[in-house]
Amino acid sequence: MTLAARTWGRMSLTARLTAILLPLAVLLAVGTVVGIVFILPPTMDFLGANMPLVRFVVAVVGILVLTIPTAFVLIYMELKVIARMNLRVGPNRIGPWGAAMSLFHGFKVLSKEDFAPTGADLTVFTLAPVVTFLASVMTLLVIPFAPGIFGQDLNIGVLYFFAMGGLAVLGLLMAGWASFNKYSLLGGLRSAAQIVSYEIPLTISVVGVVLLAGTMSMNGIVLSQSGSALDWFAFKQPLAVLIFFIAATAEANRTPFDMTEADSEIVAGFATEYSGMRFGFFFFAEYVNVFIISALLVTLFFGGWTAPINWPWPYNLNWLDAAGIGILWIPIALVALVVATDILGAAIWLIGGREWSAPSAFGLGLLIAGAGVTAAVGLACFIAFDWVQGIFWFFAKTYVFVFTFVWMRGTLPRVRVDQLMGFAWKWLLPASLLNLFVTAAAIIILNQPVIPR
C-alpha cells in the first residue's frame, strides 16, 4: 500500500471532497485569470479587426437559428389556439400546458423513416424540401427586426423579398412532379397556379407603399412610417392592406386558400409521398412562412419596429449608472435575485406553517423573485435601449397577425378552386391596379415632398 492510498483511506468524506474539489477550483481560477489576461484581449482584437466578417457570421447563423423557435411556437399556437376555438383542451401532457409538444413533434419527425416511393425521381424528390425551406429562410435576410438589427439592408429589399419568396413555387412543383403520384402532381400544379396568380396582386399592392416611401429598402420604408400609429402606411393604403392580406394568405397556402394540401380532395397534395424529415422541412417552411408574411405585413403597413405612440424613449438612464457601475449590474441583479429569493422563501416558510416544506417555499420565492427581477431588468432595458423597444414592438405586432392567420384557420372553410382562381384575376388584380393609380394621382395632386428619411 502506497502512502497516497493509505492517506486516502484515512480521510473523511468531507476531506475527500475537498481534496478533489480544491485543486479543481484552483485550476478553474487560474484558467479564468489566464483566459481574461492572455486569451480574451487578442480574441477581442481579432474579432474587432474582422468586424464585417463577424457580423456576417452572426447574421447568417442568427437568421437560421431564429426559424427553429419560431416554427415551434407557431405549431404549438396552432394546436392550442384552434383547440380552444373548437372548445377542446388541446395538448396538455408534455410540459406546462403542453408547451413542449412541438419540441417532441420535432424529435418524432427526426426519428421517423424517411421513405421515397420506388418510382420517384430521387434527386428532385430530395431537393424539393431544400428549395422550399431556402425560399422562406432567404426572405428573412431583409426584414428589419429593430434599429440596427437586420440581416442586410439591400436597396432592392422589397423586390428581393418577392423574388426569393417566389422560389417556393418551384419547390412545391418539384415535390409534386418528382413524387410519381397523381395526387402529388395535382397538388403541385394547383399550388403553382394559385401562388403564381396571387403573386401579381401581392406585388402590385406593395408598389403603392414603394411610391409613398420612394425607396425599396425595408429600413427606409420603416423609417418613413416613424412617428405615431397615424403615420403607418395602413392608413394611407387601406385597400392595399386588404389585398396584401388576402394574397399573402394564398401565398402561404393557408386556410381558406390551402388548395395544395386540401386533404378532403387530394389526400395531402404535393406532400402525399413525403415522410420523415423531408416532410418535416415542408411544414417547417410553411410555419416560418406564416411568420414571415406577418413580419412583412407589419414592416410594410404597420410601422415595423416603430412604437404606435410617440414617446420620449429611449431615455438615457444616467442615474442608474451614477457610480460608474456599468457591466457590474449583471452580478448585482443576480445577487439581488438570490437575496430576494431567500427573504421571500423564509417569509413564506415561516408564515405558511406546516403545509409548506422548505423546498416548495423557496421554489415559490424563487419564482416571485425571478419574475420581479426579470420585470425590473426588462423595464430598464426597454426604457434605455431603442433596439429592445424595436424588438418588442416588432414581435408584438407580428404575433398579432400570426394569431389572425391561426384564427382564420380555426373559422373559415376552404374555397373552391374555380372561385379561388377567378377571385385573383377578376377582383384582386384590377383592385390592386386601381389602388396603385389612385395613390399615384393623389401624390401628384397633393404634390407632397418625399417623406424625409
Partner: protein, 118 residues
C-alpha cells in the same frame, strides 16, 4: 457589394442546415426496404393507372402564361415607383398607357373565358 455575399452565404448555410438535419434523421431513423408494395404510390388504396408523368390540364399552363406577362410588368412598376417623384404627371400617363395595353390583353383573355376554371 456586401449584400451579395450575405445572400450567397445565407443560401449556402441554409442548404447545409437542411442536409445536416436530413443526414441526422437518416442516422437516427429506422429503415426498412419492405416488400415490393411498399414503394407503390399512395392513391387512396387504388392501384395507379397509366403514366403519372403524362398529360395534365391545359388551364394551369394558361395561368402561367398570364403570370409571365404581368410579372414582367411588376418589375417595371417597381422601378417606375422609385423615380415617380421626378416624373409626376408624365410618368402617370405613360405608365397608365402601358398598363392599359396589358389590361386590354387581360380583358381579351377574360372574354375568351380563359379566367374561368374548367
Amino acid at each position: 457589394m456586401t449584400g451579395i455575399w450575405y445572400v450567397l452565404g445565407l443560401a449556402a448555410a441554409g442548404v447545409g442546415f437542411v442536409f445536416l438535419v436530413i443526414g441526422l434523421a437518416w442516422v437516427l431513423s429506422h429503415r426498412n426496404r419492405g416488400d415490393g408494395d411498399k414503394g407503390l404510390p399512395y392513391e387512396s388504396g387504388i392501384d395507379t393507372v397509366g403514366d403519372t408523368w403524362g398529360r395534365f390540364g391545359v388551364s394551369f399552363y394558361i395561368y402561367a402564361l398570364l403570370f409571365v406577362a404581368f410579372d414582367v410588368e411588376v418589375v417595371f412598376l417597381f422601378l417606375w415607383a422609385i423615380v415617380f417623384r421626378s416624373l409626376l404627371l408624365g410618368g402617370l400617363v405613360s405608365m397608365g398607357t402601358f398598363v392599359l395595353v396589358l389590361m386590354l390583353g387581360l380583358a381579351y383573355a377574360w372574354r375568351k373565358g380563359v379566367l374561368t376554371w374548367r
